[in-house]
Structure formats: structure tokens, C-alpha cells
Symmetry: D2
Subunit: 406 residues, 4 copies
């Protein structure tokens, strides 16, 4: 780590009025959850390219997540996907995670891959399948208790491919009744986050298609339902940071699924395509924090399915990019911004925003990592650890009962 | 009108189980509101091409609207835009409209053209301008009483062009407080419809950007606020008929601004680019009618700014296309559709939908018009009337005080 | 088939000046190729839902294609995908197809599924993999000779996911050199069609991303290279019929991959989402035919991967929708259209176009089928044939060596 | 200017192997052309908000451009729009510009605002209007000679709003014949750049709609025709840097119209919405420079219509953002990038790209400006100059004969 670069940056920021110690404290306490499914094989409909060393079971996924936490220091929790991560003894998983230095985060019911769900899960026209999906989700609620998870993360592939195929209105009712029922079963202190997505795998309609529909679903459910924003699930041209700001204002922003996209739901590493957008989202979050609007912690979760990048490195890279975006957002000169806005001075407002964005925060992040007893560059730390060679060696062949995305 | 074609169609539909008399009654009672501003000059930012005979004042616009009603028989009301349509004596306007065989429909406050609104109206950072906009809107509420209008139609150009330029969250609050205030001032029995738009003239953010934001605004306002859906105001790939169905289910669909688009907010004549979409929207409406969901009448309004088509003809053509879409939607075999859906048979569901859509309903519409004492083809009726030649002759030069879109 | 409905329609068309016999002859001679891969299982990245009776081998796929041809009468050729359809003896396949009443159409090299192609095929940074892809394609050229195919249909999944990942310019060179080489190996009288696609599976860049890039590749290749237009491979807002018209004008339109989309590359059945667009494409084709611009036959091919529809029915439905679009395009009153255009009368031009489009051509198509010795409704003919029950019974279990999309 | 920050940056870059002197020399010689129309009033179709001091004539626009050049040092040329900038004596203009320290750059014929062009210019169905447009353009060719301009910059609003409205194929022929004719009239050493745009003001089809169509037009014209890329003229999801790379590879990239967009053709200041995209475009340019592909100078031109920003400041801000993007692109470690690409290491490739992008180049740019005898911050230099107060005072009222965008 370059101490000089850090000192220069810190001096420069201090001169601008930034409370550097406070910024560093905020970054140190900012945690990002990684997803178990991001460590396994995945692909597109054109094929899955299996990667040597890709995690095959929850146990291997927890190891990988722990490795990411080891080098980044800010990823202590792991989201799981049921049934992909289903095991017999979840109490043991809790202990296993703890031994690895991590914990289980959000529980994500998967009600899209079983062949029963071809035409939907909670919105299936067949009541038996709706019940099956409900049972699967309530099983996840049980698992939440066993692993001390406070977040039920709900995404549904439910939708249709053709005009006329389904009664969209009836499905809306089924969905909201089911969600209200699930809400009633949540453990004390837990929340359910309702994710939306414009399309895929449904190509004509998706039952929960945008933030408006997620919000309606949460309103029908109850006080512990909030919206989950996945950065890759919007139509082109949509202003995501404004959705974030609006949900914050309504007290309805539960969390994020971070990733990046250029085309559709690309599941690319955060910040790889449009880093400015990630920064602007954090600007809204920091602004809302300053306004005292955030009453319940926002769940910052990564949701990516790495295809061409080494999976663990891709996760680390995303964590680093999220940190960089947040760090820059913490540098915004709010007073100057407010002044520019009061004069409708778009030039100066942009100068304030860009001043924070253009700052090279890497020396700051490296210094923070050193403070935390980490290597300054987590990617290099990972590469130098020998971890990858080890898992490539260990994880040969397919495991019985292993399930995943791809 | 070809009686034979009608007889053949009616026989064919009757054989399929369609209650033709009922369909005809529904079409006859289906009214479409035309907008005063659609009769005046308009254009793009690249220029306004003035059309001979284009209406210059509310009086001329009412004449043109009356002409459209004369040849279509289903357009008895006219939406107005204030201040474009502002006159001294609105009581006289009411009488003038009645004499022409029409009435005033929705009142649309224009709070975007005055130079004060450069940075917003109800969401302007300057409280004096927010008040100015509020006054302008409350003046429209007064006008509603004078002209017996039951609908206040609210669209706001408010937004911003650059990241950082405005405090989006603060503007959201200003907007919802202002709308709640307006709601409290509505005449008895009146509603306010809150329109949304993805972008333009704001290119970075728009304060009311999608149906979710309109819905939130209505929820904060009160029981007489509903959402207005403009067909040209969505991102690409969005399923508008699903939004319509969802709003109907929530009891929050107030009305439509009909037009068509391929690119952005093109304001093209209804059904010119994607006639199937208009049909699918009406399928949802008819389905909701059958379910008893529609408690308050939906306001079917056209919002178009004709550039390359003769304006009155363009309006008539849109009315005809809306009627055709509605007529086809009335032909859907709901029983067969429900059966196909219950089996997840997307092939048969599409066959039911397409059977209605592919039916050539023109003989039916022509017969209905004849029943109503109209010419079967309203475009030809207009062309044969000599009306256009007359207004081209009469409307030469610019009128003092005339205002419009372009 | 309703003789009366046909007679009424024919009379009505004749009165309008349509040469009905000529229209019927055109429709009868209009052939559509179906894809072998459309009869096998497929899915999305979220999963493949296997369908009872789905074809597992080329032999089964040919049977299904023959069934589609049996009930539609216009699908005598079948496109194949290598290696999915690879067999030892292609001479035998030719005979097998002939015995089933069909023939092999376009040969489609699949150079995306083998794990070697993870980072590209003809544009892979590794020369050995580029050579492997070249060999695979030249093997397809050999197969063309064996099965008497005249069309090599080239689509490449080649692209990248991240800015910086690849040298896009170098890959362009590799692609154009490879295509020129392939062009030199084409059998006498054969053509290669170069398909483009905006995105997927590449999410940042695709080596052949749009019609412009396909055109450039064809220009660098030689006289027997033409562009292949897949209806689902464009960005939102793009005018496909204008691309079609422009390629026709350049003599560079080789053929189509028909399907439909609302979101991305949805692979939905033709005409299910936007039937007007299909019609407008055929309007351009008919216009070009009338202008004598079409020197080499356009290859009309379906490319769909059915998920929620029964696969054979979905194919038949697409064929019917294509026929309906073509039939309507044949009804355009070109003289009236030219007249409207000469006056810049967009209202009348649209009336001409809509007059053709709104015509219910189903009685005409039913009559033509009857003339051809077919049942008027191919879907019902298929359902009544017992074919589906038979294949569901026969095709149980997985076959060794069977390969497919899903 | 902070000398220390510069020294630190230079040291750090030098350690990484960057030849800082070479980078500085490249930035100093990198020139950006500003557009005369960017200094005048403009707006959206919803209205034009006039700005105090906005330039009303070519003379005032040249003054403003000279002011931008004075504070940035890299904007010595000014693009003009005819007839907006038409004057009687262009020889005098040349002298006037020289006296102000600038020169005339590209000449842009405006063939869209005259009422004759409502239905097109070079593609109008009326040969007289086609001739009128041709005459207007050839007049611009004459002006080129008078003002020593080497670039004819061609953008056409030509298109249509409705399916059927025009014969798109015939218009393509008219366009290519006209462009070939214009090409033949170009002064020695001059080029014509053919711009494309997806939509607006045409909402159904645009005659030159994408880079493929521009390329075809250039190919039909001759060796001095090249494509002009406007950053705001693409469909959503299109990879502009790949288009740039491909045109460079074909030797067909003539120049840029820089601006930014989130929605459609927003004409926002460069880098305000997606600064990473601008950087990636420059990465491709620098790479092509290194490969010796650039035989004729690329015309770097700004094309913006400022609405909510003070116009001169907006122009300066854009110039600064372009410089920053170019400066960062010059820092790419090409050797490391090539190495990462050769291993298909997308993680490392991104690290190389992001290392350049995340570098805060502002101290470098400030040092360069100081070297050039300029103030380090051109915006502050402008604000401190008193120029704005002066023009606000001087430019009151409307001038006879003044014409502009708005």
C-alpha cells in the first residue's frame, strides 16, 4: 500500500472539508453479502461452461464466501438458495459458517427450477402447485429460524410468454394473497424483500415486473415487507437511482441485488459497465442516511452469475467496485450541492458530483484494508493465497446431490 | 355500407356464440374524448409546420371537435388545456359547446410552458413558483365547476436533465403535498387523474416517471385520485396491458391518453404502429368489466399532436382505430379462453385471442354508424362535407391571444 | 371450410381490383422452412422443461417436420444444426427425408456449445480454436453437398462480456478473414447467409451485432454471401422492415429467421406479439418483388425455441401466421398507395395499408389448403391425427448420442 | 493549480511505465470543435426557455466560441449551420474568426427547418424540393471554399411517421444519388461526413438510421465520404465503442458529434450521464492510433443544445470532460491489456481498463493548462472574466434576421 498516496489524498480531502476519519469508519462498517450461487457453475441458455474448482455444494460455497470475506473483510454473510443449498442439518450449517468466519444471510427460495413450476409457482393456475410453492417458501422460513437469517429474499420467475396465455389479473391476486400469508409466517424481527424483474424467463409478462408492482405487493403484505432492487432488472432508460430515492422516501427500500448490465439481465460484475450509475445510487443512499430516513438496515447483496470471469475473483472485484462507489459517494460536498441546487445551477451541481466521482479513492480503500489487517489488494491476496489451486485440485467430478444454477 | 358483408359477419359471429346485439350496444355507448390541442399546430423541437386551417383558439378547436363528433357519433366531449384554451367567460364556453353538440371534458392545466417553469412547477425549488403552479391548477379546478367538468387531468413536465441537478427526494415530497392539496379542492364528484411519463422534456429524471410513482402520488392524495395511462409514456419492452389490468385490479385506473409510438413519445395516431397492443389493452378492460371491477367510468381520451397528417382526419382515424380495437375485444370467446388457460394451453389461448383480433369488424362498425344516422366511413364523410375547405378559407393569419402547443 | 365466407371474401376482393387467382397462386408457392432444433427440448438459462414426445434425434426431428409439412403443405424443407443433427451417413438422411416427403434445407454450424468456444469460435484469441471452428464449418460445407443443401446459415455466439476483455478490432479481422475463406469453399450454386444479433450470449459486445456488420462481412466475403435477418435480434425501436427494404435494394437480403419478441431474443412464435410488424415486412418484400429486385430466392426460415407451447403446434401456428401476413401483403392496393404517397397523404397511405391488414384472410387460406388437399385448419388436422399421442408413447427416455439446444 | 498533486500523479504514472511527457503532448494537441448553434437558444418541443446573453447571430456565436477557446486552449474551430449562420460576406467571416483567434470548421447544411422540408429534403417525393435541398447543400459547399472548411457535415431529418407513408426504398435511392452528386462537388481535400440517427423528428423511419446505412451511403458516394458518429443517436443497448472500432478498421470513421444521453437524443453535456462510455470510445481511438489505422484526422466535434445549463459553461464543461476521457485513455497499459486478453482473463483486462479510468487526471490537465498559459480551471476562468455579464448586457432584444434552433 502506498502510504504517500494515501497521505496526499487524505490531505487533499481534509482541505476540502471532508471528515476523513468518519469516511473511513463508514467504509469499514459497510458490509456486503455474497450469494452462494455465485460460486457455482452458471451460464446462458446457450450452454454452461464449467469452471475448474467451481463450488458444487453449500459447504464448498461457504468456503469460497469465507475466502472472499478473508481478503475483503467486509463480506461476513452469505445468501443461500433453497433447494440448491438444501442440507439435512441447518443447525450444523450455522456452526460450519461460524467456524469459517461467516454467517448465513438472506434465504432465497427457488421456486422456478422444479418441473412443476413450468407455468408458475405462487401464480400457477393449478392450486396444488401454488401450494407446493407455498410449502417450499415456508420451509425457507423455517430454515431462516435455524440459521438465524433475518431476510427472506423473494424473486419469482412467474410470468407468461404469450398474450392471452394467462389471466394476469387473477395471478396478481394469487400472488398478493400468497405473499400476505408468507408475511404472517415470518420469524420475529425478520423481513421479506420482494424483488421485481422486467422480463426473463417470462417474455410477455412477469407477475412482479417493476418496483411499482413490488411496492403494491408489499403494501398488501404488511409492515415487514420491503422492495428489493436488482440493478439488472429494469427497462432501458429507467433511472434506478430515482427509484432508490423514492423507495427510501416511502420507507420501502429493503435491499439490493448488485450486478451490472448493458443489455438485459446480464449478471455482470458490479461497476463493470456503468460505474457512474452505482455511484449515483450510493449518493442517494448517503443522502437518505443524512436525512435520517433509513430506519431498518438496507441489505446490500450481490447477485451475479459469473460466466467468463473466475468466480471468486469476480466476486472480490464486485465488492471492491461497490466499496469504491460508496467511498466516492461519501465525499460529496453536500453543502455545495445544496447551494448549487438552490440556484438551479446544473453546472455547479455536476461539478460537485463529479468532484467526488473523479476522486481516485483507491489509496483510501487500501489504507482501510491495511488498518483492518488485510492486504491492500484483495485480488492479489486471493491469487497469492494458493486457494484456487487447492480447490481446483479438490473439487473434481460431480458430487451426488449437488445442485446449482447451471 | 355493405349490408351483405355485415349480414355475413353477424351470422358468422352468432354461430360462434357472440351476442351481436349486445356488442353493437356496447360500441354505440362507448365514448372517446378528443383533445382541443390536437386541432392546433404542433411539431417537434426541429420545427413546427403550420397547417392550413389549423385551429387557433378554443372556439375553433370546439368547432373541429364538433365536426369529429358529427361524423363519428362517439366523441361528445372535448378536453381543454389551460392557458391555451383560456377565455374570459367559461359559462359562455359551456353554452357554445352545447350549441355545437359537444361538452367540455377533462381540464388539463399546462404548467410547463411559462418561462417560470423552466426548472419545474409543483416541484420547483423556488416556493414562489410552486405557488404559481398551484394557483394555475386551482384556477383549473374553478374552471371545472364552470364547465361541469368531472376530470382534472394532471401531467407534469417536471424533471431534471443532469445527475445532481435537483434533490429528487425533496421534489417527490413537494409533489405529493401539492397533489394532496389539490385533491382537497376538487369539486364534488370530480376526480383528478395523475399521468406519468418516462422522459421528455426531462432527460435525466422525471418526477412522475411511471405508473408506480403515479400510484404512490394517488395513494398520498386520496380517494378521488387515479392513474392516467398514456400509451406513449413507457420504456421499451414494458407490458402496458398488464399495467392496465393491475391498475384495474387496484381500482386505480382513471383513464387513458391514447396515441401510438415506435420510438419515444411519438404522439402518433392510435393503432398506427402496433394495433395489436391497443386490442390487448381493451381485452383487459372488457375482462375487468365482466368481473365487475370498474366502479367509476374510465376516461377514454385521445392525446395526439399531429404533424404529418391532416389534424381532423388524424383524429377521426384514431377514433375509428380505437373502436375497431374495442369491437374486436368484445368478440373474445371468454369461455374458450378460460378453458385454454386452465390447461396452460398457450396455443389455444392465442387462437382465441387471434380469432377475435383477426375478425374484420369494419362491416359491423359501418352498420352501427348507419344505425346511428351517420355515414359508414367518417373520413369520407368529413372529406365530402366541405368543412376543411371552409376552415382553410376562414382561418387565415394568426389571432391575437391564440396559444398552442407549437 | 366455409365456402360461403370464401366466396364473400373473393367477391369483395375482386371488386377492389385484387386478382384473387394470382394471390392464391402466390400463397400456394410460398414455402417456409422449419428448423430441426425447434422440435427438441429447449428452455431458458433458468431451466429446461422437457416436453413429452419432444424429438431427440435428427430422425425424430425430420418426422416432426414432415408432419408439419403434411398438415400445412408449405414446409418441404428442414434446416439442420450440426453437431446436434450430426449422423454418420448423410446420404441416407437425404433419402430418409425424401421418404418422409421433405428435404434438408439450410445447414447451421453450431460453434458455440463445445466447451472450447467459451471465449469465441472464429474470433477466439487462440488460433487452434479458430481452426477448430473453421473445421467444423467446413465439415458443414461438406454436409451441404451430401444433402443437396444450397444454404450455409451462419450465426455466431462470439462476443464478450466486459469492456476491455477482448480486442474487438482484431476479432473483426479474424471474422472477416474466416468468412472469406468459407465463402471460397462453398459448393457451386450455394450461398452463405450471415446472421447478426445485438446481444446474448455476449452481454457487452457481439462480433456480428447488427445488419451493418453482417453487410460488411458479406462485402468482404464475396458474391455468394448475403445477410440473414432474424426478427428477434434487434435493439428496441429499430425499424426492421426498413432494414429488409434496404437489404433488398442492395441485393443483400438472403433470408429470414422468423420468430417474435417483446423483450430480447424471445424466440416466440411468429406474429404472437406484433403481427403488424410481420405484415409490414412482407409488404416490403412484395413491393420488391414487383420491382424485380429479387434475383435470388429469399430463404424463409423459422427459428424458434418453443418453451410453453407444444412444439409441433407452435411450428404450425407460426407457419399459419406467416401465411396470413403474406396473404394480407398481397392485398395491398399499390396504385392507391403510390397515389397517396405522391400527395404525402399519410392518412390515405395508412388506409391502404390497413385495408389490406384488416382483411380477414382466413377463408382464403382455408380455401387454398382445401385446394391443396389439406384440412383447412392445420392445427386441428394435427390434433386429429393421433401423431402426438404416438410420439409421446414412442419417445420415452433419453437416446444415446442425442443432442440439442436444451 | 496544485503542483504537488501533479507531481504525485506524474511520479505515480511514471512508476507504472507511462510516458507522461508524451501523454501531455497528446492532450495539448488534441482539438475539439464547438458548434455555433450550441451558443444560441434551444429547447424541447414543449418550449424554448430563452437565456439572457444567448448568442443571436453568427458574430455573437463566434465570440462565444472564441471565449471557450480562450479558456480551454483546445477549441480553435467552430462548426456553422446554414442558414442559421448565413451571412452576406463569408470572406469577412473568415477574417472575423481569425481576429477572434478561431476559424470556421465543419459546415452543416440545415435542410429541415424550411417549411418545404416537412416531408423530407433530399428524399422528398417532390423533385423540386429535392432540388431545393441540393441547391442549399451545394451552397454550403461554396461556403466551404470561402471559409477554408474541409468538412461538410451532413445530417438529415428525413424520415416518416407512419407505416406506408413513404416509399422507403425509393427514398434510399434518392438519398444515395444525391450524396454521390454532392461528393463530386466537394472542394479538393475536403470530406463529407454522413451522420445517422435512429429517430426524431421521424418517428417511424429515418432515411439514414444507423451506422450501417451511413456506411452504405458513403460507399455509394466515393472516397471522401465517411461516417459521422453522434453519441446520442443510437438505440438502447448498442455498443458505440464497437461501432467506432469497426469504422476505424474500415477506414470510415470521419468524426464525432459529442454529447450524452440517457433517454433519446438528449443533447446533454458530454460525460454527464455515462462518463465510462466516453472513455471506452477513446480507448478504441487510442488503440487504433497505435495501430496506424488513422489515415485522415478524426473530426472531434461537440453537438449539444443546452437547455438547463448556462450555454458557454456547458460547452466548457463538455470540453473538459472529453479531455479527461482522452487523458485516461492515454494511460491504458496496453502491454498488460494484451497479456490479459491473450489469457482470456477478463478480470485482469478490466483491472487494466479500470486502472486507467479510476486515475484522477485533473492535476495533469491543470498542469497542461498552466503550461499553455491558461487558468487551470476553465469554468472559473470564464466566470472570473466578466464575459457573461457583458453579453447579458449587450445582447438584449431580438435581432432582425437572427435564426436558430429554438
Amino acid at each position: 500500500m502506498s502510504r504517500d498516496l494515501y497521505e496526499n489524498l487524505a490531505d487533499s480531502l481534509t482541505k476540502k472539508g471532508v471528515d476523513v476519519a468518519r469516511v473511513e469508519a463508514a467504509i469499514k462498517s459497510f458490509e456486503i453479502e455474497t450469494p452462494s450461487w455465485g460460486y457455482g457453475n452458471s451460464g446462458t441458455r446457450f450452454g454452461v461452461f464449467k469452471e475448474p474448482g467451481a463450488a458444487r455444494t453449500l459447504h464448498e460455497r461457504l468456503q469460497d464466501a469465507a475466502e472472499v470475506h478473508r481478503v475483503t473483510g467486509v463480506c461476513p454473510s452469505v445468501a443461500i438458495h433453497i433447494p440448491w443449498d438444501k442440507v439435512d442439518d441447518f443447525a450444523a450449517v450455522k456452526a460450519e459458517a461460524a467456524a469459517l468466519g461467516v454467517r448465513i444471510g438472506a434465504v432465497n427460495p427457488n421456486v422456478f427450477q422444479d418441473k412443476a413450476y413450468k407455468y408458475g409457482s405462487l401464480t400457477n393456475v393449478d392450486p396444488a402447485i401454488r401450494q407446493k410453492a407455498m410449502d417450499a417458501i415456508l420451509e425457507c422460513v423455517d430454515i431462516m429460524t435455524k440459521v438465524d437469517s433475518r431476510i427472506l429474499s423473494l424473486w419469482f420467475a412467474d410470468g407468461s410468454n404469450y398474450p392471452g396465455q394467462v389471466d394476469m389479473r387473477k395471478r396478481k391476486r394469487w400472488m398478493q394473497e400468497a405473499l400476505a400469508h408468507i408475511h404472517g409466517k415470518l420469524p420475529v424481527g425478520a423481513r421479506m424483500l420482494v424483488e421485481y424483474k422486467l422480463f426473463e424467463p417470462g417474455f410477455y409478462h412477469t407477475d412482479i415486473c417493476d418496483w411499482g408492482m413490488s411496492l403494491v405487493m408489499c403494501q398488501h403484505s404488511g409492515a415487514n415487507a420491503q422492495v428489493l432492487v436488482d440493478l439488472g432488472h429494469h427497462a432501458h432508460g429507467v433511472n434506478i437511482e430515482f427509484i432508490v430515492a423514492s423507495l427510501l422516501d416511502e420507507g420501502m427500500l429493503g435491499g439490493f441485488h448488485f450486478n451490472n448490465r448493458k443489455s438485459a439481465d446480464d449478471d455482470l460484475t458490479v461497476g463493470s459497465i456503468n460505474p457512474f450509475e452505482v455511484f449515483l445510487i450510493f449518493v442517494e443512499i448517503v443522502a437518505a442516511e443524512r436525512s435520517g430516513l433509513i430506519k431498518r438496515p438496507i441489505a446490500y447483496m450481490i447477485d451475479q452469475s459469473h460466466i467468463v470471469k473466475q468466480k471468486i475473483e469476480a466476486m472480490i472485484q464486485s465488492v471492491m467496485n461497490i466499496q469504491a462507489a460508496y467511498a466516492r459517494a461519501l465525499l460529496v460536498d453536500w453543502k455545495a450541492l445544496a447551494h448549487a441546487r438552490s440556484r438551479n445551477d446544473a453546472v455547479d451541481a455536476e461539478r460537485v458530483i463529479q468532484d467526488a466521482y473523479m476522486t481516485d479513492v483507491r489509496p483510501l480503500l487500501e489504507k482501510i484494508r491495511t488498518d483492518m489487517g488485510l492486504e491492500p489488494d484483495p485480488i492479489l491476496a486471493f491469487r497469492n493465497s494458493g486457494y484456487l489451486a487447492k480447490i481446483v485440485e479438490e473439487r473434481k467430478g460431480e458430487l451426488k446431490g449437488a445442485a446449482s444454477w447451471g
